[in-house]
Symmetry: C2
Subunit: 84 residues, 2 copies
């Protein structure tokens, strides 16, 4: 069975996010001064072939641990895509 899974990977709140700071600055320059605390993370969408959702989640968890997320700096959440 195919499961469409989504992962959101964010830098931990205590880790500086220079990309977010740059975007925030640019937004202020564009007149959007009422935006603050911009944090940029990653969104990964993929299809996993597994017997059930539990196994699909375990595979995605392994992909996060081994490659997608930095265990020191990142947090991640895994969800099953709606309608998949």
């Amino acid at each position: 069975m195919n499961f469409t899974m989504e992962i959101i990977i964010t830098r931990r709140p205590t880790i500086l996010d220079p990309e977010g700071k740059a975007v925030e600055h640019a937004l202020h320059e564009l007149g959007l001064g009422n935006i603050a605390n911009v944090r940029i993370g990653k969104h990964v969408k993929l299809i996993v072939t597994a017997d059930d959702e539990e196994q699909a989640r375990a595979i995605v968890e392994e992909a996060c641990r081994k490659l997608l997320a930095n265990p020191v700096m990142d947090d991640y959440t895994i969800t099953r895509a709606t309608g998949s």
Copy 2:
């Protein structure tokens, strides 16, 4: 009032995603061969000061149009962060 908003920015399905392809290849090398169709997008979290949620959404929409998303290549969805 402060609203914590989240934006997910994805390349349109018809647009090639070389980063996603590279990640998919790396995952296969790591033995995770049951993962396919990897697409990498961005996740942006920010705080907007606005009178109500509708205004907050309009501000984020403007930020997406003016800076965050590429109008030709990207799709985006805006949600209010749970618990904000």
